[in-house]
């Protein structure tokens, strides 16, 4: 317990602080609602018009649920590095982080995880209230966010969601380290965000891509940052495929943490502090 104390404290402090940013949460919710609505309508048109839709594994109602869940979890997709670390790099506050009797990787990792979860909790709750409760109530059940098919899928989703946070935080750490390496995070963020928007399934659910791409899309790391948990939720990934999804999430998390730790060790060995 005492070993985890600093990391838990860092997580709690950041989580509590960010939870207070109500305007940001509302703005995020409104944007993701709007986009969610547009996507749902586009998919409805696609399923109605394109015969190819029949060959995908997702039904229209699963795709609609996929869309709402994906919009709700939007803040867990690692679009950018942790802005706090980016700022610490520019101001030299990284030096202070090295003065703490904690493992710097774990310390930053806990903060990144807090940053992401604090953003997702209010947004996901609002999204669920809107797409899962309000839409059915006003008679738009067809367009709504449905519950998972059974308890088994729901519990697999819970595990997958935790792994999603772990994996995304490990990726954020790589972006953070790139910021330390290049003293600026913007270039790397712009570069990786375009990969993530496609390969996480945010732009288009991965099952809707051509069949010959499916194996690659399933095993690449970004699937675990959105597509895998959302497909488990909607009942598209079941049984062994669901377990394989969890294993991929865990495997990529371990890999990114390992790479991040080695990289951090090297960067900190030749850290420089410029000026005063």
């Amino acid at each position: 317990m005492t070993i985890a104390r600093p990391y838990a404290a860092a997580f709690a402090a950041r989580f509590m602080l960010l939870l207070q940013y109500r305007a940001a949460a509302l703005a995020g919710f409104a944007t993701q609602c709007w986009w969610g609505g547009i996507k749902v309508m586009v998919y409805a048109a696609f399923y109605a018009a394109a015969p190819a839709a029949a060959s995908t594994s997702l039904s229209l109602s699963q795709t609609i649920t996929y869309t709402w869940v994906a919009q709700a979890l939007f803040a867990l997709v690692p679009w950018t590095g942790d802005p706090e670390i980016g700022q610490a790099v520019r101001t030299g506050a990284v030096g202070y982080d090295r003065l703490r009797p904690v493992d710097t990787y774990g310390w930053w990792y806990a903060r990144a995880a807090a940053w992401m979860t604090a953003k997702v909790v209010p947004r996901a709750a609002l999204m669920l209230a809107f797409a899962g409760v309000l839409l059915p109530l006003i008679g738009l059940e067809t367009w709504s966010w449905r519950p998972p098919p059974d308890v088994a899928q729901a519990s697999l989703f819970a595990v997958s969601a935790v792994l999603l946070v772990a994996l995304s935080s490990a990726w954020v750490m790589l972006l953070n380290l790139a910021a330390v390496r290049f003293l600026d995070e913007r270039g790397v963020n712009a570069l990786t965000a375009s990969l993530i928007i496609v390969f996480s399934g945010n732009l288009l659910p991965l099952p809707l891509f051509p069949n010959w791409m499916q194996t690659f899309l399933f095993v690449q790391p970004f699937a675990g940052m959105l597509d895998i948990p959302v497909r488990i939720y909607s009942g598209d990934l079941v049984g062994e495929r669901a377990l394989a999804g969890l294993a991929l999430q865990a495997g990529w998390t371990g890999f990114f943490i390992l790479v991040g730790r080695i990289w951090m060790e090297r960067l900190m060995g030749r850290l420089q502090m410029q000026g005063g």
């Binding site: 104390r5 404290a9 506050a93 009797p101 850290l271």
Partner: protein
């Protein structure tokens, strides 16, 4: 065994260089040039437990680099460094839990958090026993007069208030050694006095070893028993403050207003510093020419309206000391 031991410390930085102008920028796209800067060339000193050492030197001399190596942030290129038997950069986690550090130009408190929340967070980061923490915190709060500031977010504090909070933050885990890098920079006179008073008490009453860097000679005068002057990454002087003062503060100034145009004065141990119409400013070494004798010699030969003697400001003397050793920043 000294508490802090530094031997032959050297550290270089690589700095990216770019030629000015558009052409330079275009060249930089193809080939990057770097230049090596020697921050520390050969620094050696040692410090006993309970000592209070002042570190002075011009900007870019290597003071902050030394502090950053001693606190475990930076790794030296070569040389030996030990604090309390630990090598800072190698045993970083064990080392940093026993030291406190304040960088006057940066903040270690969380900008958006109230001061007290920041303190509580530090308690958990340093894994301080809660009962012990409460006692230390209350003591620091009363000594540094922080009680009215505790509920305020750090960003709302004035610089002087923030610096007091920073110092408290660096001491919540009761470190044996305190590194202060320009702790009084930008502070007003009362805040400076408060900081000095507190650091002095901490050193005298708790026996905390203190190493501080500053550009404010009054800090040194008020606090440090021993002073190291550093320039160009080398130790230029390491002596008790009194001795440094006697060495460099021996000089006196004699200001004379003559009844007629100022004459040429050529006496041993006397140097003309400034001349203007009827007035002269002479620098002299009282151990060669005592002031009364110099005044007597001049008034005997010339008609004089007014004389007075001054001791040069310590800042000026230190600046000359840097010049003398070629230490001033290029």
């Amino acid at each position: 065994m000294p508490q802090i031991l530094v031997q032959d410390l050297a550290k270089t930085y690589r700095v990216a260089e770019r030629e000015p102008g558009l052409l330079g920028a275009a060249r930089g796209l193809v080939r990057r040039r770097t230049r090596t800067v020697e921050a520390l060339r050969d620094v050696s000193f040692s410090l006993e437990r309970g000592e209070l050492l002042g570190f002075i030197g011009p900007n870019g001399a290597g003071k902050s680099t030394t502090i950053k190596i001693l606190s475990g942030i930076l790794r030296p290129d070569s040389g030996r460094v030990e604090v309390g038997g630990l090598v800072p950069y190698a045993d970083r986690i064990a080392h940093v839990s026993r030291i406190g550090v304040v960088f006057g130009q940066r903040t270690q408190l969380w900008w958006d958090l109230p001061v007290i929340d920041g303190f509580d967070l530090l308690r958990d980061i340093y894994r301080v026993d809660p009962v012990r923490y409460a006692r230390t915190r209350d003591e620091l709060v009363s000594l540094l007069r922080l009680s009215t500031l505790l509920d305020q977010p750090v960003r709302q504090l004035s610089l002087g208030q923030r610096m007091r909070a920073e110092i408290a933050a660096a001491l919540l885990h009761e470190p044996d050694v305190l590194f202060l890098d320009e702790p009084t920079i930008g502070l007003d006179a009362p805040s400076k006095l408060a900081v000095r008073e507190f650091v002095k008490r901490l050193n005298r009453e708790r026996g905390v070893t203190v190493l501080l860097t500053t550009h404010d000679m009054h800090d040194i005068e008020a606090l440090a028993e021993r002073v190291i002057v550093i320039g160009h990454g080398q130790v230029l002087a390491d002596s008790p403050f009194e001795q440094l003062r006697n060495d460099v503060l021996r000089e006196r100034r004699l200001f004379i207003d003559f009844a007629d145009d100022a004459p040429h004065i050529d006496l041993p141990g006397v140097e003309v510093r400034a001349r203007g119409g009827r007035s002269l400013e002479l620098a002299f070494d009282p151990s060669i020419v005592p002031a009364p004798r110099l005044i007597a010699a001049i008034t005997a030969d010339y008609a004089v309206d007014d004389v007075h003697v001054e001791q040069p400001a310590i800042e000026e003397v230190i600046a000359r000391f840097y010049d003398l050793h070629g230490a001033a920043e290029a």
